[in-house]
Amino acid sequence: MENIKIEATDRSPEVDFDFANNTFVLRGESYPEDVTAFYGELIGNLESHLEALDGAEVQFTFELIYFNSSTAKVLMGLFDMLDEAAGDGLSVVISWIYDEEDDTMEELGEEFAEDLENATFNMKKMQT
């Protein structure tokens, strides 16, 4: 599958999906006008890719400064998908990178991670 690289805009995050190396990054702010239009294909491609993987190590990095409720819903779905993939035998490492002074992002990372049963989860402070 072809890698996906999308530059950040005022309202949407930088996307760096490297399917060859199984490293995936979402970085920046996320409050797109149409969350389905922005994330639909990305999630679809990721889902297909994870289903086809066998015994690989997947790294997913979230480095978000701000996101709206619709994006939060997408992220929850992503966490479920990654945890399910980990449950199916893949090694999945989720990294949640947040600004040291942003209590909100820190708390949200902890909340999203609450339901993880199989994937490995790491909280990391942003490098300044």
């Binding site: 679809g44 409720s69 939060a72 997408v74 479920d80 999203f112 339901d115």
Partner: protein, 343 residues
């Protein structure tokens, strides 16, 4: 399957619907499916709570940011208001709307330039206390500025007791209208000075101000002069110097205009040619014109009645008295005179 934001919720509803549509399923099967539904519902409920909490947090943050922005806007608005006092209103407006950029830039335009000062200001105010001098000067400048703004003038600057004003930038009504507005403004200023002299005299200021005014129309450089760090929106050129020179040869309480201005206003303004003069920086011979009847109907001698002696002070401003008031005042004076004679 295409991505759907509420895919999981849809699946749970569909599963619950299927359960209800299959009443003949075994109790064990029903309980098993119900357990799955309950687990899904709990997860979705948890997600909903998470989303509501997140939404509340975002809203609180937005309100905080909005409040901070409001406060900053108020501070900036107050600051802008204060700074506007240091600029001519038209220049301020022009900068504020983006029409004029705050950068070193000038244009060549045909303007009507006004220059005034108070004759023998230093000598006249020599004996005054600083507070009195400030009061008089500020009162004078305030009243003159009110008249200037009424006529749409751009007040360039005050240089002590001198005032530099121009018409034609940043807004213009046309060269002719600008010239006429300037001369009419100058006449009104001189007429106003009559009132002011009377007022100041009554307040105890013995030596009144007498103003000289010079006006010229010509091409000047107008815009921001100075450095990038400190600039001044002003006018420069020989024609500006000419206005100042005309002011210098004007009689107190008079208005002198250049021929170029006279040519534009001759249909409305009566002016008499004076002896030609030479001005540094101007190659042509300059013929000044003295505006006539500047104080028509308003000069001191005909308007005021003043008398003072030991134990007596009389001040009448006839311009402010209608017939009824004059009759009333005359009767009061007759009464006072009768009493004096009988005493």
């Amino acid at each position: 399957m295409a991505f759907e934001l509420f895919k999981h919720e849809g699946e749970v509803i569909e599963a619950a619907g299927s359960l209800l549509e299959n009443p003949k399923a075994s109790k064990a099967k029903i309980l098993e499916q119900f357990a799955v539904l309950l687990k899904s519902y709990k997860k979705l409920f948890k997600e909903s709570k998470r989303l509501v909490r997140m939404s509340d947090r975002n809203e609180a943050q937005l309100n905080k940011t909005a409040k901070s922005l409001d406060e900053k806007t108020q501070v900036l608005g107050a600051l802008s208001d204060k700074l506007s006092k240091y600029l001519s209103p038209q220049v301020y407006e022009s900068i504020f709307t983006g029409e004029t950029a705050a950068e070193i830039n000038t244009q060549r335009k045909k303007l009507t330039v006004f220059f005034s000062d108070i004759k023998d200001f230093t000598a006249t105010t020599e004996g005054l206390q600083p507070e009195d001098l400030s009061f008089l000067l500020n009162d004078y400048l305030t009243k003159m500025s009110e008249i200037a703004l009424k006529y749409g003038a751009t007040i360039d600057k005050y240089i002590g007791d001198a005032i530099l004003i121009f018409f034609g930038d940043p807004t213009t009504k046309g060269v002719q209208e600008d010239a006429l507005a300037c001369v009419q403004m100058a006449i009104e200023m001189q007429k106003r000075m009559v009132d002011l002299r009377a007022k100041w005299h009554e307040m105890g200021y013995e030596r009144p101000f007498h103003v000289r005014i010079g006006i010229n129309t010509g091409f000047c450089n107008v815009g921001n002069f100075g450095s990038a760090e400190r600039m001044d929106y002003t006018i420069i050129g020989g024609e500006v110097n000419l206005a100042a020179r005309l002011e210098g040869i004007t009689e107190p309480d008079g208005v002198t205009i250049a021929y170029e201005t006279y040519a534009l206003v001759r249909d409305e303004i009566d002016a008499k040619p004076e002896k030609p003069i030479r001005v540094k920086g101007i190659q042509r011979e300059v013929r000044p014109y003295a505006v006539q009847n500047v104080l028509a109907g308003g000069d001191d001698k005909k308007r005021f009645i003043r008398e003072s002696d030991d134990g007596m002070r009389l001040f009448l401003d006839l311009a402010k008295m209608d017939r009824k008031q004059r009759n009333k005042t005359a009767k009061s004076l007759e009464k006072a005179a009768k009493k004096l004679r009988g005493a």
